[in-house]
Symmetry: C2
């Protein structure tokens, strides 16, 4: 799932260059790291990438190992429910017994081996059951920026790993609630990673999101009639409801199960998250490019070689300089970046910077 | 007096492009505004500009109305005492009865007529006396960034304006002292503008700064012998003491007098001073170039057209973006810009940004 509008990492990310196409963490675009992380668990020949149609060429360039016919452009954003339904459709048409993993293309995970081990256990569990298997992440701190899921009854073991029923999904908590979740030990971060049989997914849509299921049926019929996929999507997508996979399906179905992920995971949702992934100097600063500091601390300062970014007497800042735009904000305001971008959009020539 | 090392308005000012060569306030370089401000009181044919030898060509380009032979390059900075002594020498050699005004090239004054009126009164007073006449500026607020002078006994009138003996020069005061100065009404800002006969100036150097006077004598003798001015300066300047005009002479002589300036004056000593000269938006921000703000206030944000500078949730900031460098600091730290520039200089390739 390589969506995204390029807002949260502006000005490095843009509408034409969203986060998954950037090496926000690591050396390669996040989407390429996501494919690489699958290793032999899911070889590239088995990968579909669903992305905005404007990003298809860039995704192909970033992931040359994925067959280009499997890099699918959505004609417009319809949130993650449509993506999940379309993914299930594409896999089912390839293999009626197929099992798929829905994975965000822009998360940071360093422990690829650990990830593969849990993913394989989830595939095995999903293949042998009618469960929708999510990969929950054991919280390492009381994060308020993630949704959580509460695990319930044990369901046994798969590949030697215990798995559990998911009792409920919960929204992003406040600080006190997040601390309670951490203490209780039965809450996991909802990493948005789901593994299930394609037919199980289709049944879930049919039961809880019939409008999306009907749209997929039309697409399938048109494909049967020889209409190219891009044309099918262009015709059917506008009518699909815009809704997230969690709201449309996951929070409604009874058959969600989870593993507890042992690997590190971070959705790297906004600029301050970067400080968790890059080396810091003695004053807590993360810098890249030509940067000079004097009495600056706990700041993220990203520049480009050749252009000097100089901070004097600042702390807890985010400063990101790119060729044509520079962002300056306190870390605690990074979550309001979209509001700033509305002001950019309102500027007469603002579009050139979005 | 067009000196300066380009530090206080970095990154817009550079070693090769100090403040007086920039339109920090107004549309033309400060040095050109300074010449223009003289009007018919001192026509350009009567103006000498003393500047660093590296800036001679740029000053010529900025002030094409001044005879190029009168744009004099100092081979190195020796502070303002050497400049004052050299100016007196150059004027005296042109006209033994000459009266000169020593004026900084980088102050902001908007009331040119008011300036000329006081300047002409000062010329008349200096021509007819052995006084060194300074143009003190009546304080409008308790500034802690300027030196002050205390006026003493009245000396009568010149061109219908009262003038006074200067009782003493005082250093930059703290806030409480500055407020007392303002309340007492007999303290003026030392604007570093002095008017006197060339022979009076030379006598003052001879009495209080004999090393500088001796250096000037050697320069004068060499000039008499046909040695070009640039060569004279290259030979004699290194031996001159590096000291300010105020310390070397003005604070020691007894014959300093002053007028009270009725015109506006600001030495625009650092970035935050700019806010006094440019229009502010409703939130107190001064912006130039392509700037977008969201919940920013009381900040100075200067960019360049085509490059977007975007601030989110900041106040009392100075942000200056140029083609190859960007400065970010709180207003109250602008005075420490030199410390930041030491760090720039210490960077392997730092010199390219200085």
């Amino acid at each position: 799932m390589a969506g995204g509008r390029g807002e949260r990492f502006w000005p490095m990310s843009r509408q034409a260059r969203p986060k998954h196409l950037l090496p926000i963490v690591g050396e390669r675009p996040m989407v390429a790291q996501t494919i690489e992380r699958l290793g032999q668990s899911v070889p590239p020949s088995q990968v579909f990438i669903l992305t905005n149609h404007e990003h298809v060429a860039a995704v192909q360039a970033a992931c040359p190992e994925v067959p280009s016919a499997q890099i699918v452009g959505e004609p417009m954003g319809r949130d993650t429910a449509a993506v999940g339904a379309l993914a299930a459709l594409l896999v089912r048409r390839k293999d009626p017994q197929g099992v798929l993993a829905l994975l965000p293309a822009d998360a940071a995970i360093h422990d690829n081996k650990g990830f593969q081990a849990v993913l394989e256990a989830a595939f095995a569990a999903a293949a042998g059951s009618e469960s929708i298997v999510t990969i929950g992440v054991k919280p390492t701190h009381p994060a308020t920026g993630y949704g959580y899921l509460r695990r319930g009854a044990a369901l046994g073991e798969s590949c030697g790993r215990p798995w559990y029923r998911v009792e409920k999904f919960v929204e992003k908590p406040d600080q006190a609630t997040a601390e309670r979740y951490l203490a209780e030990g039965v809450y996991l971060w909802n990493a948005g990673m789901f593994v299930m049989r394609a037919d199980v997914m289709e049944a879930a849509f049919r039961a809880h999101a019939p409008a999306i299921a009907a749209g997929m049926d039309k697409i399938s019929t048109a494909l049967d009639g020889g209409v190219p996929l891009a044309q099918c999507l262009a015709e059917m997508y506008p009518a699909l409801p815009k809704i997230s996979l969690d709201y449309a399906v996951m929070e409604k179905v009874a058959n969600v199960a989870t593993f507890e992920a042992a690997f590190d995971w971070d959705d790297v949702g906004e600029w301050p998250a970067l400080a968790r992934h890059l080396p810091r100097d003695a004053a807590g600063n993360v810098t890249r490019g030509d940067v000079v500091l004097h009495e600056a601390k706990d700041s993220i300062v990203l520049g480009e070689p050749g252009h000097l970014v100089a901070l004097l007497g600042m702390e807890d800042m985010v400063v990101v300089h790119t060729k044509d735009a520079t962002l300056i904000c306190p870390k605690h305001r990074a979550q309001d970046l979209k509001k700033l971008l509305l002001n950019v959009a309102a500027k007469p020539t603002g579009q050139i910077w979005l």
